[in-house]
């Protein structure tokens, strides 16, 4: 399969110079790639994998970024570092194609899909409008978009995440590049869609005999797709080898750590006699759709449509489903942060009829941790102020020292340095911020905690640390968790009972063992197949 390498990278180093500060993002890495071969670059955020990929197309912000004197990128015998702009533009999108992580922001929201794909063809191949249209339609068929004629005239926002990623792939492949760079192409997608996209990329690569560089932090995906693997850490290659070598006989401790980074461990088993913390029956959250002019209600979006659940002290109920399935809204509805219909009994008291003022005393007992570690902390408050805010409100008679003491303890409980309380959120990594979020919620010692995808924006190894932390906290405090996630691996490590949601309704509900080991519904089966084996199963029940 592999022949002579057509891409050779030697001693590539990348420095970023901001003011007088020089950051060595990549410190002399070398690799090569042949046609039809997939090389995966894995590593955590900040390891320099994306920058390396961007440098292949010379897309870094020069001269802020610079390469070392011995760095060389040789593509089909041609040196790309220092090549003239015109030549680089010819190569980009023509001989080297690229798929980005976020299909939402890499498509121009103001142009129709057809125009964006046509553009690539017209610029590089000099096709006429009509010829470009024909070729675009072919490409849309190639990447497996249903009703391509209709989708061609859509704007990016009218497409689903998976469809947008397919369009991105169509754009990258429009000119049949010899090298395809895929930068975390499935990270932003749901698991079932991830499986479909991976299948598509693999299939296309074989058919077009492209060389591919696949960048990912997800070793599950890499194992599935790569021929050879490079493991990067802090800008250096720590291990390199074939798929088999890396996964079956990893040598470097960091590689071993990454491979074992999947969230592991058994969920806490609640005491069967533990008190019920939250209970709801047939909970509904319907958002009215209003006509644009008179603002009359003309229909409802049934975000949550009849969910019943019960969570005991020390128990975790996992809610899984794809984006748009209403799982976040379920959490917010339970906390009465959005209007919901249906009885909610919280620690023995019905709270569904209370207004926001009457709810306030209960707020300390039910808390929330969000997905996005960047948006969930007020950027202008210090970590100490963020954590102390709830205490100020709910326990106003604490003295300043007592409050400080509680903040320190909360930080220690989530394994952060108490001195961090004087710093601002932007100084922390995603994982640390997520710990601050947990500390903010736990400082009030709530009985019930809603965790809304707390791990999905984090690196694998950080995820498993957070999962361990949460499990440990629950064990100590006997908190009831509602754990919302699309990531079945984390759910498996935490949740004792599982609700599979789709379009606001329950698909399947039951104990974790039963759901994972013997799923009954076709949808659940396909979710599990996609998450654990990265294969597409029961195609008819999943969206694209």
């Amino acid at each position: 399969m592999t022949g002579k390498p057509f891409l050779t990278v030697t001693d590539l180093s990348i420095d970023f110079t901001v003011g007088s500060r020089v950051t060595n993002a990549v410190k002399g890495i070398s690799f090569d790639l042949s046609r039809g071969e997939t090389l995966a670059i894995v590593g955590e955020s900040g390891s320099g994998k994306s920058v390396s990929a961007l440098s292949l197309m010379q897309l870094l912000p020069y001269p802020t970024a610079s390469h070392g004197p011995k760095s060389s990128i040789s593509f089909k015998g041609e040196e790309l570092i220092g090549a003239i702009d015109r030549r680089l533009r010819e190569i980009r999108g023509n001989e080297i194609g690229m798929i980005f992580q976020e299909p939402q922001s890499s498509l121009n929201p103001l142009h129709r899909v057809s125009k964006q794909i046509n553009e690539v063809l017209i610029v590089h191949k000099g096709l006429t409008q009509a010829a470009a249209n024909r070729r675009t339609l072919e490409l849309m068929n190639l990447v497996g978009i249903r009703d391509p004629e209709q989708k061609l005239n859509s704007f990016p926002h009218e497409l689903s995440g998976g469809q947008r990623q397919r369009v991105m792939i169509a754009m990258a492949l429009a000119n049949e590049p010899e090298l395809l760079i895929a930068d975390e192409p499935t990270t932003a997608l749901d698991v079932t869609i991830q499986a479909q996209i991976l299948e598509l990329i693999q299939d296309l690569q074989k058919r077009l005999n492209m060389g591919m560089i696949f960048i990912s932090h997800d070793l599950g995906v890499v194992r599935h797709i790569a021929d050879r693997v490079i493991v990067m850490k802090d800008g250096e290659v720590v291990e390199e080898g074939t798929n088999q070598q890396i996964f079956e006989n990893p040598k470097h401790p960091y590689t071993i750590e990454l491979i074992n980074a999947d969230p592991s461990g058994e969920p806490n088993k609640p005491d069967p006699n533990a008190p019920v913390i939250v209970e709801t029956e047939d909970l509904k959250v319907h958002f009215p759709i209003r006509s644009s002019f008179l603002r009359r209600t003309i229909g409802y979006v049934k975000a949550v449509d009849g969910i019943s659940l019960q969570i005991k002290a020390g128990q975790t109920v996992g809610v899984v489903g794809e984006s748009g399935s209403g799982k976040t809204t379920l959490g917010l509805g339970l906390l009465k942060l959005v209007k919901s219909q249906g009885p909610i009994v919280f620690m023995g008291k019905a709270i569904d009829g209370l207004n926001s003022k009457e709810l306030r005393p209960y707020r300390a007992e039910m808390q929330l941790v969000f997905q996005d570690p960047f948006g969930s902390l007020s950027p202008r408050l210090t970590v100490g102020e963020i954590i102390g805010e709830g205490l100020e409100l709910h326990q106003p008679n604490l003295s300043e020292e007592e409050r400080e003491d509680r903040i320190v303890r909360a930080l220690e409980e989530v394994d952060l340095d108490p001195e961090f309380r004087h710093r601002f959120p932007h100084e922390f990594s995603g994982g640390q911020r997520q710990r601050v979020s947990v500390a903010r919620a736990m400082v009030l010692e709530p009985a019930f905690l809603v965790l809304d995808e707390p791990t999905s924006a984090l690196d694998r190894s950080v995820q498993s640390q957070l999962v361990d932390l949460l499990r440990d906290l629950q064990n100590r405090r006997q908190t009831a968790f509602l754990f919302i996630s699309h990531d079945l691996r984390t759910v498996r490590a935490l949740a004792d009972e599982i609700i599979v949601m789709r379009q606001g309704k329950v698909v399947e509900q039951g104990s974790a063992d039963q759901i994972f080991d013997a799923p009954e519904e076709a949808y659940t089966q396909s979710l599990i197949a996609a998450a654990f084996d990265l294969v597409v199963k029961n195609k008819e029940v999943i969206a694209d």
Binding site: R360, L381, E389, E404
Partner: protein, 357 residues
């Protein structure tokens, strides 16, 4: 467990401040231009606050056989120095000076022996007189010392601008935050009102109004305030609209914070940086607005020391270069200082601009 917690609260000018404030101050200091501008501005401002001690037609202190006199604080009749009239002594009159010196007296004069209304008689040539030993920046066309008028005028301009800025930012920020955070109908109505309000031709309205009511410091302040409060609304509103959907606002709601508390703690601080960036510009535009009205003759009463009036005189007496030039320099200096300080404050409040530590 608390062993690491030997935190000494940082102090700033003797006041205990929180670490973030401390860090902002450090960052502000690192911006040399802003830091020196602040000092120059403060020195000028404090100097102008004590204008009476710097530029006055009365001596600061007189000592004679009859004891100490403080003409600045108290008015003394000519008789109290042994003169003829029961009216107030004119200390510039050589006769009065002689009277005091006869009683072994001496004077301490302020550095500039004129205040903003003093009509000078010791200039060379006729008014407006060119700069000379007595009048460092010359006199205006009514024989008043330009330097003294600049000093007093600076004080009026800065005080006026300060009060106007504070008033209009408080009202602007509050109304912008309300509109942005609550949105909906309130926002819709308020936005339309502001649109109509801002499309009124301000300067004509001000001219018409100032011909109906006698313009003074406070009436002008009120008139300009009617129009200047909208300046911050759109900035603060936009920022609040953005912030109110952030997860941390949801988190605050989940903590049970009231709307007002959420606005105060989570929404406003974010909007404030945007607002603070605008403050020096609002202050600068307040200075300009007052100057413009004075220049057109619809501002402060004619005898009041005003920078606009100085510019007007410069325009009317183009042969007297020192009038226009000193007016230009002082206004230019004031506006530049304000903008430099503003830039420093803005950068210091931005947590993403890391301080070089």
């Amino acid at each position: 467990m608390m062993s690491t917690d030997k935190q000494i609260k940082p102090k700033l000018f003797g006041l205990t401040v929180s670490p973030p404030t401390q860090r902002r101050w450090m960052k502000f200091r690192q911006n040399r231009r802003a830091f020196y501008s602040l000092w120059v501005f403060l020195i000028l401002f404090v100097l102008s606050l004590f204008s009476e001690l710097v530029a006055n037609e009365r001596p600061l202190l007189i000592k004679s056989d009859d004891g100490f006199f403080f003409p600045i604080m108290k008015s003394y009749s000519e008789e109290s120095f042994g003169g003829d009239f029961p009216t107030e002594a004119d200390y510039k009159d050589p006769y009065v000076q002689e009277l005091i010196e006869e009683r072994n007296g001496w004077f301490i004069w302020p550095p500039i022996r004129y205040n903003y209304t003093t009509i000078s008689n010791d200039m060379e040539g006729e008014a407006p007189a060119a700069p000379s030993r007595h009048h460092w920046l010359g006199t205006d066309d009514q024989a008043r010392d330009v330097l003294a008028r600049i000093l007093y005028g600076f004080r009026i301009s800065v005080l006026f601008a300060l009060i106007l800025t504070v008033l209009s930012s408080v009202v602007g920020i509050v109304s912008g935050a309300m509109q942005g955070y609550f949105g909906g109908l309130l926002d819709m109505i308020a936005q339309r009102v502001i649109e109509i309000w801002t499309s009124m031709p301000q300067i004509y309205l001000l001219i018409i109004l100032s011909s109906v009511i006698v313009p003074g410091f406070w009436t002008l302040l009120l008139l300009l305030f009617f129009f200047s409060w909208v300046a911050l609304v759109s900035v603060v509103r936009a920022e609040c609209l953005r912030v109110r959907n952030m997860d941390y606002v949801k988190a605050a709601k989940a903590l049970g914070l009231s709307n007002l508390a959420i606005i105060r703690r989570h929404v406003l601080p974010n909007a404030l940086v945007a607002a603070i960036t605008f403050l020096p510009f609002i202050m600068a535009s307040s200075v300009t607005a007052l100057t413009a009205l004075d220049f057109l003759g619809f501002g402060l009463p004619p005898s009041a020391p005003s920078l606009g009036e100085l510019l007007q005189q410069g325009n009317n007496n183009r042969h007297a270069l020192w009038l226009g030039l000193s007016g230009f320099v002082i206004i230019g200096l004031l506006l530049s200082l304000l903008v430099f300080i503003g830039e420093g404050v803005r950068d210091a409040f931005d947590p993403r601009k890391a301080a070089v530590e």
